[in-house]
């Protein structure tokens, strides 16, 4: 087996082993579902919509199933707008299903794919918005401090101190400032969280240009501007990307934990706390799983951007 395919196959094998061990242990040890749901149960919460169309048509008529899908999509956003004619048969079906002990039909609201996807998308926008705001601010401040040494000496100790503070603790304050239902309150907390690692890393990259490189530029009588664009910024790119990898993870944490302190029902953090409060743990786990997937996706996107931005870098040498 080539080294390359080994690098891909090995993690997949480990993932499958963990998945099977988790499923097997939960079954064998008879662990209660509310303590730790089986991975299959969590997955089925993510993909349940598809099941309705097929298996559950035995319980619901085709048009009912379709209505169910439609309504479920609306339930999260507009619970008040559903007409009683639509809702009544659904609730009947729900109760009937519930009595039969089936867990496959999803009348318990918001457990199907659509609300989790919707909530994920909502929270992802908050995380990315905050990452963009904090990132742009961090890089701009870094550029300013790299240009004016005095500013850097004055600011950097504060930035390093601020970077070691649990900024997420300010989330309730930000919710109060910008409005608990306003996505900007979460973007703001994310922006502040990602600002410091990005700024500190970028400053390090901008000022750690080898002295010989600067002498070389000086010998060409290069302007400060040319030195910035031809030496400092390219030199800072690897630092910027390692900052971004930290910041990407922080952004998802910031958005979701920010939502734990309150937010609209459509937000993933709110969804998780509510599902957990209602003992729908498989659904909560499914939402957490979705959050994890988004975190990994952000990381992979940053890796991809890194590769495109600096194909010359040592970390990509084969």
């Amino acid at each position: 087996m080539s080294e390359r395919s080994q690098r891909i196959v090995a993690p997949i094998v480990i993932f499958v082993v963990i998945f099977l061990a988790w499923e097997g242990l939960v079954t064998a040890l008879r662990i209660e579902q509310f303590l730790l749901p089986k991975p299959t149960a969590i997955l089925s919460n993510l993909v349940r919509v598809i099941r309705i169309d097929t298996a559950d048509t035995t319980v619901l008529a085709d048009n009912e199933a379709a209505a169910l899908l439609r309504v479920n999509r609306l339930l999260v956003d507009l619970p008040g707008d559903i007409s009683p004619e639509v809702l009544a048969p659904l609730e009947e079906a729900h109760i009937a299903e519930f009595r039969q002990g089936s867990r496959r039909v999803l009348l318990s609201r918001g457990v199907n794919l659509t609300p989790i996807l919707q909530a994920s998308w909502y929270t992802l926008k908050e995380a990315l918005g905050g990452l963009a705001l904090g990132g742009i601010a961090g890089v701009l401040v870094a550029l300013a401090t790299a240009r004016w040494t005095a500013t850097r000496e004055a600011l950097l100790p504060f930035a390093i101190a601020a970077n070691s503070m649990p900024i997420i603790a300010f989330a309730p304050i930000f919710n109060n400032w910008f409005g608990i239902d306003n996505p900007f309150s979460k973007m703001a907390i994310v922006a502040v969280m990602v600002f410091f690692p990005l700024m500190i890393n970028t400053v390090r990259g901008l000022v750690s240009v080898p002295p010989r490189s600067l002498e070389l530029m000086r010998s060409y009588a290069a302007s400060e501007f040319a030195i910035l664009f031809k030496a400092r910024i390219p030199n800072a790119l690897p630092y910027l990307f390692s900052g971004l990898k930290v910041a990407g993870a922080l952004a998802m944490i910031g958005a979701i934990v920010g939502e734990y302190f309150g937010g609209p029902r459509i937000a993933l953090g709110v969804f998780i706390t509510q599902e957990a409060a209602l003992f729908r743990f498989a659904s909560a786990w499914a939402a957490i799983f979705s959050a994890c997937l988004m975190g990994i996706s952000i990381y992979l996107l940053i890796l991809l951007a890194e590769r495109l931005a600096m194909p010359w870098h040592s970390s990509f040498r084969e």
């Binding site: 010989r212 490189s213 002498e215 010998s219 060409y220 009588a221 040319a226 031809k230 010359w312 040592s314």
Partner: protein
């Protein structure tokens, strides 16, 4: 006599003036270097030979005395882009290909695109790296990287080439080959070279003049003309005169290391 390319008059340099760590790096340096000369600065480590090179190149300003290049002060000469610098480390930009590295000074000097590319091609041909134009520095050996650095330094036809132990980090075989190449380039381009080294053989082999320096404070103790026939080649190293001159430089160095009375 024509105007000298480099003219140093009573140059003094003290680092950390007035502090406990004060270092008197250069003391009363007087030196004149003519056009097309190849001058090596040699001396024990810490004798200020790199500092002297940086004073000539206006990377460091002297504490006293003046440095003139082609009749201008060193700062003006730097602003007029009279210097090509080569350091011990190739100092290539990792994010630029070989060709783009050679082009760096041409970009800064706003050469038109066509001239830029033509000069790059010529320079890569000169250092025999035409096949590596699209490679990144990390794909090159140390010797090849140093050749790129030389091509970059010569690309804009500076009137003086300042080299700070350019082959110091290379193995003996590569160094000897690059010495030959450098002499070839020097002949073809008619530049003036100031070359810092701590290798006696290299200094004698390359130079038309060897300047021997002593340490703390750094000053010139001897100025030895190297009258070996030009052009030099592998056979030069077997010349009896070569050994005589090597011995002369070695003795001058030993002399310079004696504590000053």
């Amino acid at each position: 006599m024509t105007e000298p390319v480099v003219l140093l008059d009573s140059v003094d340099k003290t680092f950390g003036d007035g502090t406990a760590n004060q270092v008197h790096a250069l003391k009363n340096i007087n030196l004149s270097i003519g056009r097309n000369e190849f001058v090596s600065l040699i001396g024990p480590s810490g004798c200020g030979k790199s500092t002297l090179l940086r004073v000539i190149g206006d990377l460091i300003s002297p504490s006293a005395g003046t440095a003139q290049i082609n009749g201008k002060n060193a700062r003006q000469a730097r602003l007029d882009r009279e210097y090509g610098m080569v350091f011990q480390a190739a100092t290539l930009y990792d994010w630029r290909t070989v060709a783009k590295n050679v082009q760096l000074p041409l970009e800064l000097m706003k050469y038109p695109k066509e001239k830029k590319e033509q000069r790059t091609r010529e320079m890569l041909e000169l250092v025999e790296l035409s096949d590596f134009a699209g490679h990144f520095p990390w794909q090159l050996s140390g010797g090849m990287q140093q050749r790129v650095a030389i091509a970059r330094a010569l690309a804009f036809e500076p009137s003086i080439l300042l080299m700070d132990e350019p082959f110091g980090a290379l193995d003996e075989m590569t160094r000897e080959r690059l010495n030959l190449e450098l002499l070839d380039i020097w002949r073809k381009t008619n530049t003036t070279v100031v070359f810092v080294t701590h290798s006696i053989t290299e200094a004698v082999f390359l130079s038309t003049r060897v300047i021997v320096m002593s340490a703390r404070p750094g000053r010139i103790t001897q100025d030895i003309p190297i009258d070996l026939p030009q052009p030099r080649g592998v056979e030069t190293r077997e010349n009896v005169r070569f050994f005589e001159l090597e011995t002369q430089v070695r003795e001058a160095l030993r002399e310079s290391e004696r504590p000053t009375p």
